[in-house]
Subunit: 328 residues, 2 copies
DNA sequence: CCCGTCTTCGAAAACGTTTGTCAAATCATG
DNA sequence: CATGATTTGACAAACGTTTTCGAAGACGGG
């Protein structure tokens, strides 16, 4: 593998000049730069990133922490992030936290080993408040996705979840439903709480009393949605708002098993608008999160901060929209 | 951030001793090792990975190249890889090739910048034969997933696709179908060709003539499956084997749009057994690929090679099984 | 022709590790 | 106690960059 010294030797010049030439830095004559660049290309030179980041103290890579990259929910966010990463020359380093960022052995390695210049953390849960605070003390910039923290210093991009919950519930209300169940997410996550809040708000606005047994947690997973729906069916309701699409899938399955029809017997609206939601039976009416844009925006913020073009403390709240299909 | 020198100073010892102590190397008294380890823990020391890999010429990270990480097909493979990565202490670095590994700017950076110790390449296409050959010339070990190359030196883990195609078609044959369509994948990929081959073989065995207009390519995407199915419907058939589940989803949609019933009017079997396939309407009968195991196995091979425990040239072929649900 | 300014380049230090070599210290053995 | 063997620790070089600083060269103005 060719090094900067090889190039220097061939070009009859000092290594420092090569470095400057290749990095388009001030102080090298245009003709010699041309010559050096040509030699570098010829040798197929690529800078050794370890050596570089050892001195610059930058790695040009960004760590991305999320619960589980195999969840389809994250795919579009990741794609959006990747778009700006390739634009800006950053490399993305993913790490699954499996629901608990704090326990991330990998995260420690990322930060302490100085492997990443910045971090984006998707969907941290409530209990990790202390951890996030500690992170803020460190020197490493980060942005939270799918979470809004009151701290004015931390960067957040999220979707207005109470508005989303409101929209979903309101939609069902407008269809004439009065007894609307809710399959909530994992209550350790603020998004779950917020969506419940939106649900309550719409109910209240319509003058309908909140009914404890009509909301049951499904833990954000398809299987949980299935179980939750079985319960709701017992409680009896004509419509349900599921806090995410994955649970709505399980719920649809549970409904089908009982021989009931959607939306005639029970209407369903989800949250997220995953790709697959257009393919369920019937296609799912759901609250759309602009996941790709959220990913994009979050990385734009982080790279801007890393480039020193932005001070930090950016808050971006996206507005959800309801995409209506045939399940409600 | 604490360095090895800080520890050395506090412990009253040379930096080299600290290094050896922390890495459990020969030549340091147990008592001083204990002392050093204690200090390191106290300071929250983590080795700077850039510095380390600069001298060791190892990064302890493995690059993973695939078409598009947001495709659900890859999720389980990735999960399997991640399992052994965390076991063995390797970090995974993902890179989307968007169907053309060769064009991967990121890949160049990975290899030439010496950012990765090894590579796993998932689903490279046929045209990239030259590229793979070139890669084999380099010093960097790699394993191909979802592809079997005749070269005895390259490591491959794949599933027996012609057997899979055979199984699917044979299943439909056994159900009494005689006119069976096939929605093929992107013909630049060997897997697509192999699955067609299996389809043909089953047909031949049953004494049914291969019929050109009954196989149409859907490019492995849901939308392509939809379009392909529309064509097949015109050609007329009572069953179809789709080369992957994503296309089967599109096909099911196309069938539903025509007001036909699955499996009564037309039976459907897919390939992959994605998570969603249990949730389609009706649930999809499909050929199962052990994706998690494939990911696991591929990384086991690679890490073994990197650790010097394995010579290379490993070939692992998984046998597909059919998981029958209700679409056929 | 001299002096100051500006441009171009080179030398060297630094980043934080690992590792080979060698000296010192310890220990066992006779 | 002397000797040799063995353990333990120190020193220094090396990995491939970037960056600071200063030297030398070019050049123009007076």
């Amino acid at each position: 593998m060719a090094t900067i010294k090889d190039i220097a030797r061939i070009a009859g010049v000092a290594p420092s000049v090569v470095s400057r030439a290749l990095n388009n830095k001030y102080g090298v004559k245009e003709s010699t730069r041309k010559r050096i660049v040509a030699i570098a290309k010829e040798l197929g030179y690529h800078p050794n990133s370890a050596a570089r980041s050892l001195v610059t103290r930058r790695t040009e890579t960004i760590g991305v922490v999320m619960a589980d990259i195999s969840e389809p929910y994250f795919s579009q966010i990741v794609k959006g992030m990747e778009y700006v990463a390739t634009q800006t020359g950053y490399t993305l380093l993913f790490s699954n936290s499996y629901e608990n960022v704090e326990h991330g052995r990998v995260l420690r390695k990322m930060i302490s080993g100085e492997r990443v210049d910045g971090l984006v953390i998707i969907g941290s849960n409530i209990q990790e408040k202390g951890f996030i605070a500690a992170l803020a003390e460190q020197e490493i910039p980060f942005v939270l996705v799918e979470r809004n923290l009151p701290d004015p210093k931390v960067n957040c991009v999220w979707v207005d979840n109470v508005q989303g919950g409101y929209l979903a519930t309101r939609f069902l209300l407008d269809k004439g439903h009065r007894r609307i169940g809710h399959i909530a997410g994992n209550l350790h996550f603020q998004v779950a709480l917020d969506r419940i809040e939106g649900y309550k708000r719409a109910l209240e606005e319509a003058g309908i009393a909140f009914c404890e047994e009509l909301v049951v947690s499904g833990n954000f997973l398809t299987e949980g949605g299935y179980r939750a729906m079985k319960e709701l069916l017992k409680a009896g309701c004509t419509a349900v708002f599921a806090a995410n699409d994955a649970m709505a899938y399980g719920a649809l399955q549970a409904i089908a098993e009982e021989g009931l029809a959607v939306p005639d017997d029970v209407a369903m609206v989800g949250f997220d608008d995953l790709e697959f939601s257009a393919l369920t039976h019937p296609p799912l009416t759901t609250v759309r999160q602009p996941r790709y844009e959220m990913g994009r925006r979050s990385l734009e913020i982080l790279t801007a901060i890393l480039r020193g073009e932005e001070a930090g403390g950016v808050k971006v709240c996206f507005q959800p929209e309801i995409t209506v299909r045939r399940s409600a």
